[in-house]
């Protein structure tokens, strides 16, 4: 009998340990990606995670003009939101990645972000018993650069938001979900404001590049897309960003030069007043829009209505 007890007790312990292990660890690619997204193991000095710059409470964007990488190093572009990327076809302000998987690894290696060669990051994951087990359970493989990218991208694809007042107005056909200012603002967005020419689609982006007039080769010298494409016409062009949760993701533009949405609207209304010497600005913005103060207020109300309820209710849930 004693022998049986000796055998049974360790067996139960193994089962309990295994159960608790599998119960607490990630069981899908997206769950593993979430763990990695928040883990500073992927940065050189183990201080920075993806979430350090893509902050959940700010729609996975940052509140600084530029974010700080390892050792306090500064990038040159504003951190875009990592939400609502599933339908997007280009990534980064200059579109240098065509897939989320391709995008996911770049910040790990970037010297002013996480500054860790991907091969080294993978080695760290392999040296972690937990991560080794997670990758084997989910990918049937040890950690590799490829499945690291797949996991991070899978998590990012879960970050979709469809519960803004605007969504409720349209999808649920609930005209009380938004006020009259929002409805007027949406009409201006589609007409006088010309916003829809670039911000058309489910995430309010046409997935293309535009030069909105923030390049003058002097103090504004980020030439944008041209560095990737080599096409002269791409001088000063940047990706048209999504407008979902835009109220949460300021400051705005690729260089974070506008602190709030009103500054953005004022700029688009009269670009020459703000940047009089821009180069290669898009013809859509060749003339002032002629928005009244009421138009601007309505347009801003519409933009605010694109905020998902999880942010308005402070239900981050991440």
């Amino acid at each position: 009998m004693k022998k049986y007890v000796c055998f049974i007790v360790p067996s139960i312990a193994v089962v309990v340990i295994h159960t608790s292990f599998t119960g607490s660890g990630p069981s899908t690619k997206a769950e593993l990606g979430k763990l990695l997204f928040f883990d500073p193991i992927l940065s050189k000095d183990r201080t920075i995670s993806c979430a350090s710059c893509h902050k959940p409470e700010f729609a996975f964007a940052d509140t600084g003009v530029v974010s700080l990488g390892v050792g306090g190093s500064k990038g040159s572009r504003n951190t875009p939101s990592a939400m609502n990327l599933s339908l997007q076809r280009i990534f980064f302000w200059d579109g240098r990645a065509k897939t989320l998987e391709e995008q996911a690894l770049a910040p790990i290696e970037n010297p002013v972000e996480m500054n860790l060669p991907v091969a080294h990051a993978v080695l760290r994951l392999k040296q972690s018993d937990d991560y080794n087990n997670y990758f084997k359970a989910i990918f049937n493989s040890e950690p590799t650069a490829s499945n690291l990218a797949v996991a991070l991208a899978a998590f990012e694809r879960t970050l979709e938001t469809v519960e803004s007042p605007f969504d409720q107005w349209k999808f649920s056909d609930d005209s009380n979900a938004v006020g009259d200012a929002v409805k007027r603002g949406f009409a201006i967005f589609n007409s006088k404001g010309k916003c829809v020419k670039c911000h058309f689609g489910a995430d309010f982006t046409t997935n293309e590049f535009r030069n909105i007039g923030l390049f003058n080769s002097k103090e504004l010298n980020d030439s944008g897309r041209i560095v990737i494409s080599g096409q002269p016409g791409d001088l000063g062009k940047f990706k048209v960003p999504s407008l979902r949760n835009i109220a949460m993701t300021g400051p705005y533009m690729h260089n974070g030069m506008f602190k709030n949405l009103r500054q953005v609207i004022d700029f688009y209304n009269e670009p020459d007043k703000v940047i009089p010497n821009s180069l290669n600005r898009d013809s859509v913005l060749s003339k002032p829009l002629g928005l009244t103060e009421k138009d601007k207020t309505d347009l801003e109300a519409f933009l605010l209505s694109l905020t998902d309820r999880r942010f308005s209710l402070s239900e981050h849930g991440y």
Binding site: S86, L87, V162, F166, D167, F171, A202
Partner: protein, 118 residues
């Protein structure tokens, strides 16, 4: 007078039937990428389009003799004209381009098959 009322009634019924042929909610099947497109044709001759529950297009349309003409908030206000082909007991539709100079929209629409949801 009685004949006139009956004729008016029949006309109203026919009009209602024609309107009902398109009005309502239509959806694509789940695409390989996991996307579902929904279009709601309303009885006031406006429509709304959604991808994965996200509104992406809104517009106004006419529908006569299976010809669907519309303008939406994309494509710089260009008009699109399509023949709507009903099939599967009119529970499914597809679009045949008659005239649409907005190439991206046309490429999307001629590939789209929608099934009636309600």
């Amino acid at each position: 007078m009685k004949k006139l009322l009956i004729a008016a009634g029949i006309f109203a019924l026919i009009s209602l039937t024609i309107t009902d042929q398109l009005t309502g909610t239509w959806e694509t099947k789940l695409s390989p990428k996991g996307n579902v497109t929904r279009v709601v044709f309303k009885s006031d001759y406006t429509f709304e389009g959604f991808i994965n529950k996200k509104p992406f297009v809104t517009g106004k349309y006419t529908f006569e003799n299976d010809v669907f003409s519309f303008v939406d908030n994309g494509c710089d206000g260009k008009k699109g004209v399509y023949k709507i082909v009903f099939f599967s007991n009119s529970d499914s539709i597809r679009f045949e381009s008659v005239n649409d100079s907005c190439e991206e929209r046309r490429n999307g629409m001629i590939r789209t098959v929608l099934g009636r949801v309600k």
